[in-house]
């Protein structure tokens, strides 16, 4: 990773943490960017490649973990923004209850 990177962090709020589905969603999104993107559960590292679902799952990060991300290279800021947005949207998962009818 070059020294020229952008960093951000967010709390994992989805019920089961960074489990299989979120890990795969994150890596699929990460692979869509040319930028190098890394993830950590501590600002001090260790940092792992955000394009490896096996590595992300190894964090076994439960709900409430602060997830750190950093990106460098082409389009780093946009890549980081979209990655953080996916986390803040709870990986687009439905709410805790099977959602029903209506409204909000």
């Amino acid at each position: 990773m070059s020294q020229e990177h952008v960093v951000a962090s967010a709390i994992l709020t989805n019920e089961s943490g960074m489990h299989a589905r979120p890990s795969v969603k994150l890596t699929q999104l990460a692979k869509s960017f040319p930028a190098a993107i890394e993830v950590a559960t501590d600002e001090a590292g260790p940092w792992v490649d955000a394009k490896s679902p096996v590595k992300l799952m190894r964090f076994r990060a439960p709900q409430g973990t602060r997830l750190w991300m950093r990106a460098s290279g082409e389009g780093a800021q946009q890549a980081l923004d979209e990655m953080m947005s996916l986390v803040s949207r709870n990986f687009d998962e439905a709410g805790p209850a099977p959602d029903g009818g209506g409204h909000g």
């Binding site: 299989a20 890596t27 029903g100 209506g102």
Partner: protein
């Protein structure tokens, strides 16, 4: 033989009366890792590729959650990191099978050691991947399980791909010695309606004979007594009859026993929810929840994308009415960059129309897309979380401005009917203040705001219900207002799909419900057993 009760953990509801059944051989995990073949690196590469191809072929036959489980396995299998330790061991002289098994066992052990139930349950997914590749290394995967009718499958554990490739007989169930209700297999069993109990302990594997499996209670009764067997048989017959009846009623219009017509519409969250649904089974779409597909800032301002989604729904409906709710973000549905980040009480803060009116740039795009879609079919636009008459007037002014702009630009458009959700008691108590073209009761929020009960807290949830006389009185008030002024009143909360609550809703005067598509048959079956003509019926059925 004396009856024996084993208590496990409920994983998927349903009752099975049948024979305990074990597959011939256990999973390939017991097979010896293949001995060295000479070119172990190429052998492992080939086995991983073949396993991936087999999973991709399986994926092609699946959709929804089932496809997602297999898709995740493919993603893990394609990650070089998974096999990296195995290739390192091969480079150090180990045979492919042993190297792969050892690398995967280390990965699996780390999951099994987790404190978190969810991550422990993922160990099975990695065992599944391990065994698929081992089977490829030893010359091809074994055939799929064929589970007989009314068989209760006994196994220590079941892998997701074993579950998905198995052929399940009618009335079959799963009884596992290990397992977890949060496993993918448990989720898959719930999706298929197969009863499943996990955590029954290793002794379950040595049992045989007749048994009763209760997936709701989490119990297995071996050699059940005659009385218990008869009671279970009656319950199974009654549940099957209920399902069969619902399937029959799903295809018919909803009519009460004394001939009162009730509109049963579908609630959807995404145009893809309509795949496989027959429009003739529904009286239109009562609610499209747009915030679930407009979940990213760039989609909020994508007019063409929204137009395509609305037009697709109208095309499916084939002339039946389609009600689209404008963006209902906020509360429990945040959208990054759109909803406020730190509200002390988001359910009483910036939600629904309140947010839309504060983001006219975003709101106008949706109104424009809706007006354009209205050129292709009978579209209705519904505003969420309306509290003040001014909010409806402001939204109408914005809609009119967009319609005028479209007309000036010569763009095809229509004039959708503009209605409101009734979820705030302020509206339900005095609906006559709101000049809406139709009303739709959002029962989940109406209960929350009337009974002061959070939807998010299980502990207090039981304090509030649509069946509460106060909520039913509000519903009756809105329904009476609708009849008086000749405007449709519908209901689009979860209560409309609950057979236990439908009689009270119709007695309160409602004649239109919007429900999850899968619940329409059960709701219509309930309606068919009711007499409604005496309950202050409207002179004409609502459309």
């Amino acid at each position: 033989m004396a009856e024996r009760l084993l208590v496990g953990v409920a994983a998927s509801p349903g009752l099975v009366s049948g024979r305990l059944w074990r597959p011939e051989s256990e999973a390939a995990s017991q097979a010896d890792p293949a001995a060295s073949t000479g070119d172990d690196e190429a052998a492992l590469h080939g086995a991983i590729a073949s396993a991936g191809q087999a999973l991709a072929a399986l994926l092609g036959e699946l959709d929804g959650d089932e496809a997602e489980v297999v898709g995740m396995q493919i993603a893990f299998l394609e990650d070089d990191e998974l096999a990296r330790p195995a290739f390192e061991a091969i480079a150090a002289g180990q045979p492919a099978g042993a190297a792969w098994a050892a690398a995967m066992d280390a990965e699996i052990a780390a999951y099994q050691a987790s404190d978190d139930e969810y991550f422990r349950a993922r160990a099975v997914d990695f065992q599944d991947i391990r065994d698929r590749v081992l089977a490829e290394l030893s010359g091809g995967a074994s055939g799929p399980l064929v589970v007989p009718d009314h068989a209760i499958l006994l196994a220590a554990e079941l892998r997701p791909s074993e579950f998905l490739s198995a052929r399940w007989g009618a009335g079959a169930g799963l009884a596992l010695a290990q397992g977890s209700p949060t496993s993918h297999v448990a989720m898959l069993a719930r999706g298929r309606g197969l009863a499943m109990v996990v955590g029954l302990g290793p002794e379950v594997l040595d049992l045989h004979g007749e048994a009763l499996l209760d997936g709701a209670e989490g119990t297995l009764v071996v050699a059940p007594e005659q009385g218990r067997l008869a009671a279970a048989g009656a319950r199974i017959a009654s549940e099957e009859a209920g399902r069969a009846q619902a399937a029959v009623y799903a295809a018919r219009p909803a009519l009460s026993r004394d001939g009162v017509r009730v509109a049963v519409q579908a609630t959807i969250a995404d145009p893809s929810d309509l795949d496989g649904l027959d429009p003739a089974h529904f009286d239109g779409i009562g609610l499209v929840r747009t915030e679930l597909f407009l979940d990213r800032p760039e989609r909020l301002t994508d007019e063409e994308g929204q137009l395509a989604a609305y037009a697709r729904i109208l095309a499916w409906a084939g002339g039946r009415p389609v009600t689209v709710r404008t963006l209902d973000a906020g509360g429990d549905k945040p959208i990054a960059g759109y909803t406020p980040a730190h509200e002390a009480n988001p359910f009483l803060g910036m939600r629904g129309i309140r947010l839309s009116l504060r983001h006219p740039d975003v709101f106008r795009v949706q109104l424009r897309a809706l007006a354009r879609a209205a050129a292709t079919g009978p579209l209705k636009v519904m505003l969420p979380m309306v509290t003040l008459p001014r909010e409806l007037a402001d939204a109408r002014a914005l809609l009119e401005a967009e319609i005028a702009a479209l007309a000036a630009a010569g763009v095809a458009h229509g004039r959708p009917a503009l209605g409101i959700m009734v979820e705030v008691p302020a509206v339900a108590i005095t609906p006559e203040r709101f000049d809406a073209e139709f009303f739709s009761i959002g029962s989940n929020d109406l209960v929350q705001y009337t009974c002061a009960v959070s939807r998010e807290e299980a502990a207090s949830a039981e304090l509030g219900s649509v069946a509460d006389p106060s909520v039913l009185a509000l519903i009756a008030r809105v329904a009476a207002h609708g009849r008086q002024v000749g405007r449709e009143v519908s209901l689009c909360g979860d209560a409309g799909g609950d057979p236990a609550l439908v009689p009270a809703l119709l007695t309160a005067g409602l004649r239109s419900l919007s429900v999850q598509p899968g619940l329409a048959g059960a709701v219509k079956a309930v309606i068919a057993g009711l007499d409604l003509a005496s309950t202050d019926e409207p002179s004409t059925p609502p459309s």
